[in-house]
Amino acid sequence: MRPAPVTDETATGYYGNPVLKAPVWKPVIALYFFTGGVAGASSTLGFAALLAGNRRLARSALLASAAGIAVSGPLLVVDLGRPARFLNMLRVAKPTSPMSVGSWILSAFAPASMLAAGSAVTGRLPRTGRVAAGAAGVLGPAVATYTAVLVADTAIPAWHDAHRELPYLFAASAAASAAGTALALTPVPDAGPARRLAVMGAALELAAFRAMERRLGEVAGPYKEGRAGTLARAAEACTAAGAALGLVAGRRRPVAVAAGALLCAGSLITRHSVFRAGFESAADPAATIGPQRSRRAAG
Amino acid sequence: MGSNMAECHPVGFQWVMEAKARGARVIHVDPRFTRTSALADTFVALRAGSDIAFLGAIVNHILTTGREFREYVAAYTNASAIISEDYEDTEDLDGLFSGWDPETQTYDPTSWQYAGMPAAPSAGTKESSPQGEAHGYGSKLEGAEPPATDPTLEHPRCVFQILKRHFARYTPELVEEVCGVPKARFLEVAEALCDNSNRERTSAICYAVGWTQHTVGVQYIRTAAIIQLLLGNMGRPGGGILALRGHASIQGSTDIPTLYNILPGYMPMPHAARHGTLDDYIAANTAPAGFWGHADAYFISLLKAWWGDAATADNDYCYDYLPFITGDHSSYRTIVDMADGKVPGFFVLGQNPAVGSANGKLHRAALAELEWLVVRDLVEIETATFWKDGPEIDTGELRTADIGTEVFFLPAAAHTEKDGSFTQTQRMLQWHHKAVEPEGDCRSELWFYWHLGRIIREKLAGSTDARDRPVLDLAWDYPLLGQTGEPDAEAVLREINGVGPDGRTVGGYTELKADGSTACGCWIYSGCYADEVNQPARRKPASEQDRVALEWGWAWPANRRILYNRASADPSGRPWSERKRLVWWDGDAQRWTGHDVPDFVIDKPPDYEPPEGAEAEHALRGDEPFIMQTDGKGWLFVPSGLVDGPLPTHYEPHESPFSNPLYAQQANPARQTYRRRDNRYNNGNGAVDYPFVMTTYRLTEHHTAGGMSRFLARLSELQPEMFCEVSPALAAERGLVNGGWATITSARSAIEARVLVTERVKPLRVQGRDLHQVGLPYHWGWKGLSTGDAANDLFPLALDPNVHIQEVKAATCDIAPGRRARA
């Protein structure tokens, strides 16, 4: 049933038109990946700090979590166009749809995170606050990583084919950004865990990105060249600088703030890079055709 | 050939695809590789305007290899007829036939006559106007059988031998030189056609306006007719020459004509100089043999249909109420007169000449000379608005304030909004029922003309002026339906069918009488309302009847699906082959029978010999199938009826970058031209200023001058802009870029178009050099959703002399990158 091999001019398909449709998501979605990551990882950090008795750190992390999630909602609505449209998400629960799963996670996470932050800031309802912080802390990693599945679960080669590494990249990036936020918001003496998390997150983020590029092989192009590639390099630089700064001079408050900002910038730019790379990958017919052709040829 | 069937007749083309699936071989010959070519088994690219050389070479190939269907040719064609001694061929006179009068630029066809037969004082004779105004069926002879024949086909002056000599120089080499078709490819086509044409097999030739729109258009089709007669492909299933016609009912508009020179059923329009009285008319148009022998019955029944009780034997059935023609009043002639200020008013219905007719600029200038103009259309087309937004207004050549034309735009109802019939390519009438009421003021043509007539009659009521009688005496009495007073279209169909003395519909034209007892609006349509039943409205599915499907619609004449089908049987009345049987003689029943309605006198035996003094159909023998011809034969050689020669001859198009390699005579000598400032020609230095050949055509996505497609988003988006098709070689030579702009210029004008560079258009090697052709769809104008320059602005008025059709399939042009200059 297989057609005879084709000549190479057909590698770009039909007049060089994309085979796939580019996502219709607006750039606010990349921003949402970031804020969601901050929120998710922060809540875990906050809960861990609570457990560890580090109230200052817990407070700033829970606050960051609540702020992150508070921004996320409107970002999603901006993309959908109308607030009511978000409610349609909750008509059904579909495990095959990462967006559905994500919506339910968010729906549980957001109130918990808010409650935890509210309690931590006001000091009221401490017990409820603790339970809420626990819930948010447990859901946090899911909030931080489901977005990776969300993009991976598409036909776009630069996303789909990275499905093994993307969750790690997103988790690490979330950790780095959460740590960065905490670094900036927490007095130096209490920010030790944040500094350590920053280094771990950043290292993992850089490693995951490399691993992803390697696996993608011929479809890694967008991460290396073009706008997404430039963003990726910038993200790397920010993340590495932020981690180094935090490690070396994180005990000076202004430096800690700067390190935190760099880490957050690195994370944000990473998400934008991944986001853009998806568009570029979708637009390139060769990225779709090439690997499929090799796959078919291999049997 | 000369048809892009897949694109222009997609629904009909499904049957070609079905035939192909069953093993038929499809060959497409066209200047461009089109969607039809894509589905054909074989595609041959030829130079636009060179088909007679190609087809003539097929004739020559048949004759030199002895591939003609001998028995068929000998029995059913005029191959054996001996032609007048005075006849001289284009081979003798370097491109002219005998009878050429350089003074009047016309032929006297007397010398083309059968030896021993007096020339008919009818169509195509010297006495008749040179440009065929009175043509109807156009093939009348003074006698029936040719007086002298040679059944052995050896006589040097017999048609068969003349044919051989005439086409002897039409060789594969000539095809290569003239058409740009390699010898081998030509031979492949010629052989395929011959191999597939015999007792067991038949071949059909389809053509459309790729053949007709030339200064030799009629002769293109004549060449095909010669091929099909030689190969025995006429009157047989799977054979024939299929004219793929245009607008949904363009066939209907020649049957019941919108033409100036014929009356319903192809009866000539009376000519003022020759047909002064009814008797003159009948005498001139009644043939001694064949069914034209009853022209009197058809004609008088027509007059009865129109003037009803007012038409009596005493007043010659109101014969003198008819308009009489005095010369050429064809569309283009009228436009030229209009441009000269000789035409005060103009009705335009279902036409968009400002875009769709050759030399658009001349047309728009002519419209600006009118006192009044009525345009009835579905949308506000260019013809209705040329005075305010035409290209000449843009450039300042015309100023709205200077145009005195009073324009009336009236909205028309579309076919979905009215009852009526279409007559399609197969001569089949199909009834369509109104689906929705027309909106607002939109009305049908029937409504418009009937009420216009009513109002005029009301205004003239009581007049005693004799010149008002033709209008006042009309039988203007259809029942009116509904709120809008829509005349009943079925009543019109019934009138067309005709009624007998008892007031009931007649069963067919054989029942028509010349004594005023029958009335019939169009004799060839007689039978379409037989038994008081609307026959075209029949829609019995194919699955419920045999493959000829006689109960689907109704085809004229007499619901026959294949004309001259007597030829599907041999002279003795037996089918040529079992495989190809259609109609045959049933000796037991003493009748013709078969799958189709026999196109013959039903009980005339194959061995019938006309008795002395027999008339009309009775004057034809039992083995003469072409019953509308005076001699019952298929004409290889046309002794009467054509104004530009009895045999097709290769002439170059009016504008050509090449000289005619066969004759000193470059183009058709009888072609109709208008040498004027506003209709410049490039035939002085052909190849220099305008080195390329341009040709125009249609796209599936649009319809003709665009009124029905450019105003619709869902069609416009499919072909959104005017473009030209050029080969990569020409693009490279002239710096044209795919998707960019080009300006195409001719001796008339310049237009711009987007560029589509395509491998489907290739340069051809003609007379030793590479020729580039430029393809131009002609659908665009400046109005609607999808706009662009009109290709017709580039083309001149240069017409076929028989039918006055414009040559828009081949002319010369130049092309350069970039947009055209604006004022």
């Binding site: 996502p23 861990a48 990583t145 997150g201 | 894509a38």
Partner: protein, 279 residues
């Protein structure tokens, strides 16, 4: 109910675009912009929210994948005898392939799988349809489709694609595009019947020497579990803008969730490690 679908036989497509127009007329799909694309006779470009049937026009050099000795039975073959081609300046060297593309109504439909609202659903005819009153325009289905079929209509924020004329099917009518197709290039019917017919047609073409003819999407074992609307093609799928080996993205979803779980645990681990009291 039996699964209904399309068999689009591109070997008899004449590129008339009646299918495109009929689809728009019946489904009231707006025009897709009046743009001259310069890509042969295709000015629509691709399937999208406002184009549910799209006719591709491919001008390809002749020869390509066809062995030069094959007889000219391939409908879309410009030349016939190789000998003549060698001599020919006018006709050789080009084939014009036309193919009407549509939503594949995949057995495993990624669009449907990923839709978070349930707007995309599988009908009783086993077709994949968007419920316009449920769709919230999240756009997730758009990049999920391995064929680039479904897309968002900017003017109303929801996604649109071929419904396989769900309304017509419910009234026992043939889809508008198939009904309008003059050559029966688009054949509608029960999928298994169509597959039989397609296999027969392929056999005929192969026998006639059209070695490059092949079916696309008629195999249950392919990456999307077979198409509800499959094709007979005369060249490689990518030539028509179709993916050569499409896979439903959700096939890898379990692996994705596992990776996410791993990543989430890693995150927890890292946080825990970071918060553990330093010695």
């Amino acid at each position: 109910m039996t699964r209904m679908g399309f068999f689009t036989d591109t070997s008899i497509c004449i590129g008339c675009k009646a299918c495109e127009v009929a689809c728009k007329e019946w489904n009231d799909v707006p025009d897709d912009g009046l743009n001259f694309l310069g890509t042969s006779y295709d000015n629509t470009g691709a399937l999208g929210a406002d184009t549910w049937r799209h006719v591709a026009f491919v001008e390809r050099p002749r020869g390509g994948s066809a062995p030069p000795s094959s007889p000219p039975v391939n409908g879309q073959d410009a030349g016939s005898s190789p000998a003549a081609d060698a001599l020919d300046t006018g006709s050789a060297g080009v084939r014009w392939l036309m193919s009407s593309d549509v939503c594949k109504h995949c057995t495993h439909a990624a669009c449907l799988d990923v839709c978070p609202t349930g707007a995309l659903f599988r009908t009783e005819f086993d077709t994949v349809v968007v419920q316009q009153d449920v769709c919230n325009g999240c756009g997730y289905c758009v990049p999920a489709c391995p064929f680039g079929v479904i897309d968002k209509r900017e003017s109303d924020g929801r996604v649109w694609k071929c419904t396989l004329c769900y309304d017509r099917l419910k009234s026992d009518m043939t889809p508008a595009c198939a009904k309008a197709c003059p050559t029966q290039s688009i054949q509608f019917g029960p999928l298994d019947e169509l597959r039989d017919r397609a296999a027969g047609r392929l056999g005929v073409l192969r026998e006639a020497g059209v070695s490059e003819a092949h079916l696309y999407g008629a195999d249950d074992n392919d990456g999307v579990g077979g198409f509800g609307a499959f094709f007979l093609l005369l060249d490689a799928p990518e030539v028509y803008g179709l993916p050569p080996d499409p896979v439903v993205t959700t096939r890898d979803l379990p692996r994705m969730w596992r990776a996410a779980a791993g990543a989430a645990l890693a995150l927890v681990g890292a946080v825990a490690a970071a918060c553990a009291r330093p010695r």
